[in-house]
Every structure is written in C-alpha cells, then in structure tokens.
Symmetry: D3
Subunit: 297 residues, 6 copies
C-alpha cells in the first residue's frame, strides 16, 4: 500500500506568481510525457509482473514518479496561488481582471477559470489526460523498451521547460526532476539487459524470407544508405515491382464465401452499382453560382 510523507521529495521555492509559467509546467503534470503517465505506466506493469526483481523496481520507480507528480503539481499551485486568490475574491475590477487573465498568456485562462488555479490533469494546451498515453502491454521485453523511451522523452520536455524558466527555484526543481528521468532510464536499461533473451521480443520467430528486407518505399533525391539499410543483414529492395506482392501470391485479396453470402454480396453490389458510362447531372450543377474572388486571393 502507499503511504505519504508531508515533506516533498524536493523543496519547492517559487519567487513570484506566474500563471503563464504554471500553465507550461502542466505538460509534466497532466501531459503525455508527464509524471502521471510515468507513474501509471510503471504501476500497471508492476501489478502484472511476476519476476521479483522487475516487480520491485517498477514499484520503486512508480512510487517515485507519484512523488514527482506532487512536486510538479506543487510548483503549479504555488505559481498560481496569488492569481487564484485575487480571482476568487474578485479583488480587481472586471476590466483589470480580464486584462490580467489574458496577459498571463498561453492557456492559463483555462487553468484559472475552469480549474480555479489548481493543477489540472491536462497538458499546457488544456487537452485532458488520457490513458492512451500509457503504453503498457504486459510483456517486459516490450514494456521496458517503452519505459526507456518514455524517460528519454520526459527528459527532453523538462529540458525545454528549463530553457524558458527564469525563476531559480523553479528551474532547480525542474533540473532535479529531469535528472531523475536519466537515472530511471538507466535502471530500465539494466533491467532489460538482465534478461538474456530480449530480441526479437516474444516467442515466435520472424519469417526468414522477410526478416532482413529493407524496402526503399520512398524514392527520389534524398535517398540515403546507412547501417539501418545496408551491410549485414539487409537485402535492399529498390525495385518498385518487387516491393509489393512480396509473397508472389499476386497481391490481391480474396475470401471464400458461402453461397448465401455470395448471393447477398451480389445483391448489394448490384443495388449500389456505379455506372461508369453515365455523365450524371449532380448536386453541384444545381448550385453553381456567381464567379468567385480570384484564387488564393
């Protein structure tokens, strides 16, 4: 079970009200690369995990991410605290209050008016957090790779936030959170390679004749070669004719239908058949109007 200690994992010191910055920080509270997504990714994996080492690690890191969620949410709450008080108490005249709200910039109006200055589980654009961000699928060779990638993405978003933050206390806390993502990435890498068989993932082998093809589907000036498509083990398929119908079966689609199905499909086809010989009058012929303004202005 979870316990909570009222001390934050990292001290939050904010030097002045800044609802605009608060709103940007929501990326890491309720955004796709944020701490709730991280905590839920690892927590859901932990619950289904049977390997004792991985289960322990996933619970450790999930719990730490919840503590990060608390740090980032507290930063948001502190940055909004003053503005929240003023709007709730209606201390400003409406015109001034409107100017202040708009002046904070970005989408902080949503945070203020709808969420009352509290941290909301949205990204900085107001998009509601969705479990579609959590990509756990219950296989550790895949999930650990997902975790490695997620930590890398979170690190980058923290870096971007730091690049636009002047408040030193906020920047410090963000640097701490950014750093921890790097540490977690390392743990997940170690755990991945502590399985002695993690590629290809899963239990079924690839089909040998298709496993080493690199199919050059995008052609023209800019075609490049590198280790991702040349050298071992690649066969480079450049010929457009050989890119489709790779199995030699014709590249068409068929299904064997029962006789009543055939009959129904034929009836449907016939009822809705298109006549390629027709040159029908159409709705737009009835609606063509006056000449328009010259194209593209």
């Amino acid at each position: 079970m979870f316990h909570h200690n009222k001390r934050l994992q990292y001290t939050v010191r904010v030097s002045e009200s800044n609802p605009g910055l608060a709103n940007l920080l929501l990326e890491q509270f309720g955004g796709p690369q944020g701490e709730l997504a991280a905590a839920m990714r690892y927590f859901t994996q932990a619950l289904g995990e049977v390997d004792p080492g991985r289960k322990d690690m996933l619970l450790d890191i999930a719990t730490e991410e919840l503590s990060h969620l608390e740090v980032i949410g507290t930063l948001v709450a502190m940055l909004n605290k003053g503005a929240k008080g003023k709007l709730a108490e209606g201390v400003d005249e409406a015109a001034e209050a409107y100017r202040t709200l708009q002046g904070a910039g970005n989408d902080s109006h949503v945070t203020q008016v709808l969420y009352g200055g509290g941290p909301a589980l949205t990204n900085s654009g107001g998009q509601l957090w969705t479990a579609g961000y959590v990509d756990s699928i219950g296989d550790p060779t895949a999930d650990l790779r997902s975790n490695i990638a997620a930590e890398a993405r979170a690190k980058i978003v923290y870096e971007r936030l730091i690049n636009v933050t002047t408040d030193p206390g906020v920047a410090d806390a963000l640097a701490f959170l950014m750093t921890r993502e790097v540490a977690h990435q390392r743990s997940f890498e170690r755990a991945l390679y502590s399985m002695d068989d993690n590629f290809p993932v899963g239990k079924l082998a690839p089909v040998p004749e298709y496993a080493d093809l690199y199919i050059n589907t995008s052609q023209g000036e800019g075609d490049m070669r590198g280790s991702w498509n040349q050298g071992e083990p690649w066969t480079y398929v450049d010929d457009r004719e050989k890119q489709s119908n790779v199995d030699g079966g014709g590249g068409s689609a068929t299904v064997e239908l029962k006789s009543d199905e055939v009959k129904a499909v034929e009836a449907l086809s016939s009822r809705l058949a298109s006549d390629p010989q027709a040159m029908p009058l159409t709705g737009i012929d009835l609606g063509v109007g006056k000449p328009k303004t010259a194209g593209g202005k």
Copy 2:
C-alpha cells in the same frame, strides 16, 4: 508525395467469413499498437527531421506502415464481407440476424451495425483511435527509442493474434506483418547508435548529486537488488528519512506573494476556513435510513 499500387504488399487469402476474428484484428488497424499509429509516428518525425539519413529512413518505414495498414484493413474487410452483405440486404429474418450478430462474439456488433463491416479506426473494443498514441516529440534520441519500443509492442500484439488464428491465410499475413516489425526495430536501433551521443538525451547534463541515486521507495518482503539498483553507479537510498527533502531545503513549498496577493489569499482562506473544533451536523445525518443487508452480502 505518395503513390499507390493496387497490388497489396502481401497477398490476402481468407478462407471463410469470420466477423469475430475481423474485430480482433482491428487492434492492429485502429488500436494503439496498430499500423496507423506506427505510420503517423514515423511520418510526423520525418517531416521535422533535418538529418538526411534519418529522414529517408523514416519516410521509407512510414510508407511501408501505410501499406501494412492496407493489408490489415483488407483482412478485416474480407472477413466481414459476407456478414456485411447479409445485414445490408436484410436477407435473414430479424431473429436470425440478431443471433448471428451476437454469435460472432466480442465487439463485432459495433463493427457491423455502426461501421457496416468496413474496417474502422478503433481497437477491438471500439475505442476510437486517438493521436495520444503518437508519442513523437521532435528529438531523435528520444523518438528513435520510442520507435524501437513501438515496434517491440506491435510484434507482441501480432504474436497474440497469431496465437488465436486458425485461418491459414490470415495467419500467414499476420506473420509477415509481425516479421516486418522486427526488421523495423533493427533499423531504428542502427539509426539510434549511428548518433555518437545519444545518452543522456538532450543537451543539459543531469545534476550530479541526484543522477546516481536509486531510491527504494517500495519496501517490505520482496525487496530485491540487481544491476538496476546496485553496483556502479548507484547509491541505494533505503532510509525513508533521506528519500524526501533530498536537497535539504526542508521539503516544503513556498511562494513569495505581493501584498495584494497576500491579502486576497488571506481573505479566501478566511472565507472558506474549516473549523477543526466543530462537530457539525451533516447531510448524511439527515439521510440515515433503515439498516442494510449484511455487509458484502
């Protein structure tokens, strides 16, 4: 620009109508690990990419994923073709039609009634595809890791589908698609390591004092050690007291408010203060009713 060749990349041969299986295959059409998510992940990365090698590779693979989307969607269409014809033409009595619809199992009723047997951009449970599945963030050291993970996840889902598929033509096509995920994973791995500096991701260095801590937040029977939390470079933080307030600043949260903000916050606090001495009558005291059935039935 894109071109289309009417031959499929892989021949689709379905041996009988099976709307239930069709519905399961939607996982890889409009599900989170499916081909649209893959194609869009790589395509959006390609558009913003400036490195010529990666850009070329991303376009090659994005285009192939669109071709896979076509294969999986065509499988769905073939598996549903007969049922679609029969429902559209109303060939069965209602009672028989209802039995057939329900008898196909899982969520194939949604596919039939709402989408008319055409492949829909949903997963097998009817959840609409959302761009929240696409985790591109515009930094290749992160995005390539996301791609590696995505290919691993997709491989696993294909494997699960193969495990429940008896139709040999469908199983063959799924095995082809599964195989290509493995090949793509390899390309992305090669591209990642063709950058000579991909860890830590980004440009800012981690804060040294927090970079090598492993914080044992989850404790009790089941605590484990392994390379993810012991050996180089880890400092293992086991003491609960040292897990919070890691910066030594006290672990509290503060913000410096202007005087009018202070005044507003105080007014708000006072207006909505909770009285810890009160033992109030509450709504539930007014609504307590008759004894209930014994707990937990």
Copy 3:
C-alpha cells in the same frame, strides 16, 4: 512524498482464473467511478488547498485511494494470471485459444490481446480513462460536494460488482473497498459542514428575483409537486408565457456592431441568403431511385 509498503491494504485471495470477472472489475480500476479517478480528484484538490485541515484530509484519502487502486488492480492481475500465461506461451492450439478468449465473455478479449492480461486504465468496455472524470475546480464548497457524490457513486458500483461475484475472496475484497467509500463520504461531509458558510457556494449572491423560481418546463400527465418545487421559498412558474423572457427585455438577442462589422455581416448575409420563394430542384431529385422495401420491414 509517497512511499510504498509491499503489503497490500487488504489481502487478495482469488480462488480461480476468471478473465471475464477481471474485466468487469476494471470499472473500479480505470472506470469513471474507479480508484484512479478518486485518487486524482482528491490529490489535485490537496495540492491547491490552503486550509490545513482539509489539505491533510485530502492527502490521507488520496493516498488510501491509491492503495485501493493497487488492491483492485491486483485482483485483476490474479484473475488473469493463468490466461495470460497460456496465451503468452501459446500452449493451446489456435482454435482452442480462440474459443477460450471468446468464451471468457464481455470485453476480456481486449484485456488479453492488447494489454496482455495486465490491468489497464480502461473501464470494463475498454474506454480509456480520461481526466474528464476528475471534476476538481479549486473551490472547497464545490469540491467537497463533488467528493461526497463521487464516493456515493463508487459505493453503488462496488455493490453491483459484489452482486455478480461468486469468488469469496474477491467478494470480500470488494466489500472492504465498498466500505471505505462510505467512510470517506462521512469524512467529506464533516469537512463540508466544518465551514460555516457553504451555501450558496462562492462569493456572489444570487439575483433575488430569479433565486426562488421553480420553472415547470415539462408539462403534461405526470406533473408532480413536492418540497423541491412547492412550499418555501418557491414561486412555481407554470405559465409558459412567463417562463421565457423572465427579465422582460423581450427575449431576443442583440449586439451593437461597428459600421465595418455591420457591412461585413450584411455582405455575408446577402451572399448566403436563402430564397424562401424558390422551389429548387435538389440533389435528391436527381437521385430518386426504385421503390423500396415496405417501411419498417
């Protein structure tokens, strides 16, 4: 910050594999009335709360809800454990595996194929959890009422689940979780009435002339009177004529536009004017086909 103790808050004892029941339990894992929604509702309120008593209470209960999330997720994991192993290892022939998957009923195919038997942040129908379920708005007189309601809803959903559960260990754990919702409701009621001014919520007074109207907008057989629309303080507005335009201003809509705006609006109106005298030929006149099957079959 959060800590985790490897012992669950309540012991989980499952007597046999049951992916169908596992899927139903997802309602309280990733559904709208489930434990994640509860935990996040109280946690986001706590972060923005300044009253010390409420803040403490919200953190206590949020943390307990996370522990409940762990219990319900663990129930799901145990109920799915056997099926997960068999599908991952491919121990059954495909036909048998397909039958088992479909035979488990409801949407457990999503859980198995997409999420690999791990608990997923969806409801029992596969709908992804969304932060739209979290209704915190940063005012305690409203938020505490939201919490009271949320606990009542969660209690009912647990009751429905208990009513369909035969596994005694699962039923016990559900009864524990159900019970805690009742306790939490009581805490929130007490906290609400520990504020000596919680109705009307907010700081602005209602407009007196509209505050005590009950507007009987739905009329006909079935009209009823009760304390919600009769007695003090209600004025019952039954006359349709007096229901609209309650302010006596005419019930129309106007805006004062600047002259260039007027001109633009007139140009737009004129360009897209509808001719009420016309009896136009339309697209459907071009497309009317053969007689149809008799109406409504």
Copy 4:
C-alpha cells in the same frame, strides 16, 4: 427557450426485457450517428445563423431531434427496466446474476454495471460521446451538406438496427425515427438549393490550373474511368512524373531563416548528426537470445 411535453413524440411499446437489444440501440442515443449528435449539429448551427429561414428550420429540426433522443433513450430504459431492478435489488444469487449479465451479450455489462441500466451517452461499444462527432463550421453551404450526409448515415444505422429487431413495438418506433431522417434530409436539400450560389463553397475561387485535374495516384489492375475522372472538365494525370511538383517549383521545401536561426539549426543538426558510415553495435546485439519458435507458428 425549450419546453417539454410529457407525451413522447412516438409511443414506446416494448414487449419484453432485452438488455442486449437495449445496448445496440445506444448507437442512436450516444453514438456518432445518433440523435444527440444530430440535435447538437443543428442547434449549434442555428445559434450562429443569420438567415431567418435557415435559422427557423435548424431550430425546428434540432428540437425534433431532442425529442427523438427522448424516444430512443426511453426504448433503452424500457428494455433495461427489468434487469436494472433485479441487479439493484440483488434478487438473484451471484452466479445466476453473473450468467444473466454475460448472457445478455454484447456490451450490455457496461450499461448494467456502470450506468445502472439507464441510457448512457455512449455508442453500443461503450465509447463515450464526443463533440468530435459534431462537424458544424459556421458556413451554411458546408453545414447543410454535412446535415444531408448526417441524415443519410443515421437512416442507414436505423435500417441496420431494424434488421436485427424482432420486438414489434421497438421496430415500429425505429421505423418512425428512420423515416424522419429521410424527411430531414429533404428539408436540408431544399435549403441548400435555396441559396443561388452554393458551389464552389466559400468566397475564394479555385486556382484554375489545378481545379480540373484528376490525379490517378493509385495505379494497377483495377484502374477505372467514369464521370468522376473523365469527360468535362477533367484532365486526367496519369504520368507519375507529373503528379508531384505540379507547380513546377521543384517539389522541395525551403524556409528563409535569420542568421541566428541558421546557426541554431546547424548546431542542432551537428549535435544529433547520424553517421552513415558507422556500423554500430546496438542494443539488440546485446539482447539477442535463444532461437524462437518457428515463424508464424
């Protein structure tokens, strides 16, 4: 303003409990082609409309769609009434209650357990209604076409539901609702062609050199000609070389950057450059394990 008359627009007569059918009917309650989507489509258009004839018509039809929402929702409520009573009162033993719930088929378990048998704003698969279904954009030449299409889609979904409905009272009500969609389609067609200039939509003219091209992007066996790509006014572009770079500008992408931008982009490119000469060791080389099961089983 709206008023409500307790008599339904169409009498609802249900001959027996049927939660499975109730669940299917949700398509037209909270599904994409359902009555809420219809009502909201026309209502939002009406509010912004300045043409008096269209505004009146949109309000008439929006209001009728709300009345249809009531009819379909009432059908759902009646079909679920018995099951709701039994589950709420817990009259069956758990094993029997579970069998009944699963036996109703499709996603009726969601309706019962989560929504308590009341009609929910979801489709038959449990997907929450989203305003993404409402495609109003505030231009009547487009919006009326959207309405025409929406009515056509709704008609088809009602037809599919009728095809699987044996209960005569339900089938009657569905036939009424289906019929009204046809009437509404006619009204929208008439309104569209009562504007004497509705094609091309909008005020800007198409660019003449691109307006009449039909670009044969999909080639191979199955290429077809018909009025949609031959005859007046089409120029059929078959030559792949002429399909891209249609403006003759080269088909590349350029932007003029300022010097500090150039410098930053170069630094970024250089920092993250991919080395096409490298043949790097990658993560998968570290993780290659034992041989797998034969491909595709």
Copy 5:
C-alpha cells in the same frame, strides 16, 4: 501498397519563421477538417468497397490526401524550423526564450514545448486528433454524401487560413490545397449520381404517414416558410397537440415485465421512493452562511 516520391506534390516556400502561423495550419494537419481525416475517411471506405469504379476513385483521392498531409505538415515544419533550433539549443537566455515562446501567440507553446516544433496530430488548439472525425459507415450512398460535405468544410477552413496569411509561398500552397478540395467534391458528386438509386438511402422505405411531415417544433416570432417546409410534399404540423404522440398510441412508454422483474422493480421503487409530502431539512440548511456580495456584482 503505397510508394513515396521525395518530391512534394506542391513546392513549399516559406519566407520566414512564424510559429504562430504554423500553429494555425495544424487545423488542416491534425484538425477535424484536415488532411488526415480526409485520407482516412476515403481509405477506410475504399477497403470495404466492392464497386470497382468507386474503389479506384477512393484510393486515388485517399492517396492524394496523404500527399496533402505531407504538404501541410511540411509547411508547419518549415515555419517552426528556426524556433525549434533555438529552443533545442537553448541559445537564448531563459527570459528571452520565454518572451519568444509567448510572443508567437495562440497555442504555439504546445507545439514548441511538447512536440518540439514538429507537426503534431492536433488541431490549432492542441486537441488530439480522434477517429471520431471519420464518419465512414460502409454504405456508399451515405459515405459519398459525407465526402462531399467534408470537402466543402475543408475548402472553407483553407479559405479562412488564406485570409490570415501574408507569407506568399504559404498562401500559394494553401490555395493549391483549397483548390483540390473543390475538385474532389466534384468527383464525389459524380460518383454519387452515377448510382441510379441514391435516395432515400438504404433498402427500407420510409413509413408513408410520417415521411412528409414538417413539424414546426420551434414557434414564435421568426417562424418562416420556404421550400424546406411548404409546397410538395410537405404537411406542415403546427398544432402542438399533434406534434407529439403522432402515432396516436398515447405517447407513453411501457414494457411488459415478467413477474420476478415486476417484483424487483417494485422493491427498488419502494426502497428509493420520494415522499412528496415531506418538507425535509437538507444539507444546505446546515450550510447557509453569511450574506453574499450583491448579485452579479
């Protein structure tokens, strides 16, 4: 299968960095009327289509829309390229970087911070693309109308974007894309009327007694007549009494329940009965506080 040619369909020339404009253009990349929605609408229809002419046309246009997605995405990437480089490299001081980010206006902060300047599958407000935008239902008489409407909507949104674009290269590309929507609308119109029976859609006939009613549900000043509600074939139902209960069955709702269901429903009703005679003390009576600020300020 799909192939890709590195030349764009239309040359992209951007004359200066402009993240604010980039963000607006996202409407047509990941917005509801954008190119992904268009491509997926036609592609999903194509897969299920059996008529050879329509199938070919749908694939042609779907493929072209993917090429448009590439053009609009490339415009976004070029407009963001400079800002992306500067933020990624951290070349500006934080205060300057913050000013630049906010100064770009609208929601470009989301694009920069979260998506790193790459084109994202969102609209200009950051709303994630959802398959709820794709309205294909597998019947060509409905789907072609949906396509016609979709092209009309897209044309209008392009027109609005052109109206706010000063960059001549961007405006040119937008005019090209706008033009192609008009061409596609024409193709879909031709295809619709190449079926000789497209109204009423579907196979079941409307119920004659309800097919020609126009129900004047919205009454008062502003009531209008026009071809949509007068002339052939309309019967105009103005009498409120005749608008409901149109079948004469009474306008009520009934279901025939089995005896155990009746008993359960009665038990439920009785347990939760409302007492219309009561004048209960309520929660708000316990919480009425001090007088408020004067109404409406």
Copy 6:
C-alpha cells in the same frame, strides 16, 4: 417531447464584439461544468427514473438547462458576430486579419478559424466535450448528490466569468444563469432528503470492522485533527503497521491456478526471467557521448 419558443429565457444584450470573451464563455457551453453537461446529466437520469416526483423534476430542470445552453450559446454568437462577418468576407488585409485574430487573445483563434465564430461544443481551451463529464449512474441517492455537486461547480465557474466581464448585458445574463444553478441545487437537495433512506447509499451494509476507521496515510508536519477524523464514530489508525493488511490475512496476493496454468506461468516466468547477478552492458553504454552543458543550465 420538446418544443421550442423563439424567445430566449433571458434577453441577450451585448454591447460590442469581443471574441476573447466569447471564447471564455465556452466553458459554460461545451465545458465540463457547462449547460450541455447539466442538461444531459438530468435528462439521462430522468429517462431511467421510476419515481414520479423525481422524474418530473429532472425533466423540468433538464429542459431549463437546454434553455440555458441556448442563452450562453447566443451570447457567444453575438460576441463573435462581427468578427465572423469580417473573416468570412475577407474584408481585412491578411496582415490585419492575422493581428485581429491573435489580438483577441486566448483560444479564440480556434473558434474563429475552425468553427467560424459559431458556438462550439468545447471548453475555452478547445477541448471537445465528452460524455465522460456526465456522471449519471442510475441510482438516485448517488445521482442527486452528483447533481448537487454539479450545480455548485457551475455556480463557481459563472462567478469567475462574471468577475472578468465588463459588458453589462453579458454580466446580467451570466448572473441570471448563475442564480438558477443555486435554485436547482436547492431542488436537488430537497429531493435527496425526500427519500427517507439515503445513507449509506445502496442496499448492502458496510463491513462493520472497516466502516469507522480513519487511516492517517499522510503523515508529518501538517497532520491535523477535526470532525472528519476524530470524535464519533472514528477509530484513528496512525500506526503504519496497522494501515496495511487490515484484514490480518498477510497483505499478499494469491490465486489458485490449474496445473496447465501453473505450467504456462512457469514457462513464461522462466523465459523472461531477470538475472539479478548480471551486470549487463546496455544500450546506453553504447550511446554515451560528450559531456553536457552544466545541469539545470
């Protein structure tokens, strides 16, 4: 059924164009606390309700909320009317049009470009309305509490909007709408307490040994006592050891598996076992690059 009267419930008088304010008002049109959510909450409850008094009240209030939706939507339409005309007619030069669009502030660019100035079913940040906002579950003791809370939330959001509104006609209309929420809250309270048994909700009794525990999960400076956790009936559980494993069963999780399940789970565990003794080379060891910029800038 519903009828519509062309007079609004409250007269709308707007004194000048203001797309920025229009956009803020969307919170109460298509936002979570807005009028559509309210109307749908009560309407869906009404359809499933069997108690005549509550059913009548729910229909009365649902219908009034639809009328409020009309008022707020009309306010939005009036505030946008001028800007809509100018953008649609393209009366301004592009540079001026762009400045005007951006200058209106907040997310009004979405409203203008995508929705053409019509009211959209989004909140002020462009988030699409979702039925996830509707929390009806079909039990009146829970649903009435949800309604009470929803009215309280809506009142607060109106208050915040009034605090930033200078236009007197808009402020008046908002004050009317705000007032009605208070009246509705009163009706719902009365209806709740007109049931003589509304706590605990539902039919099953809480488990006595867990019903009166208050579990102090969050500890440290800031721990508080009040009526919500002291006095009758609380037992305050402060000892961390007693907070978990409250049933004394050990706090672990078990499931009894069949022998083939055991075998499969063992095979899975063994295949994916983590080696805690390994100190593996990992992907990041291959990718460590040059030193980074100093941490946290």
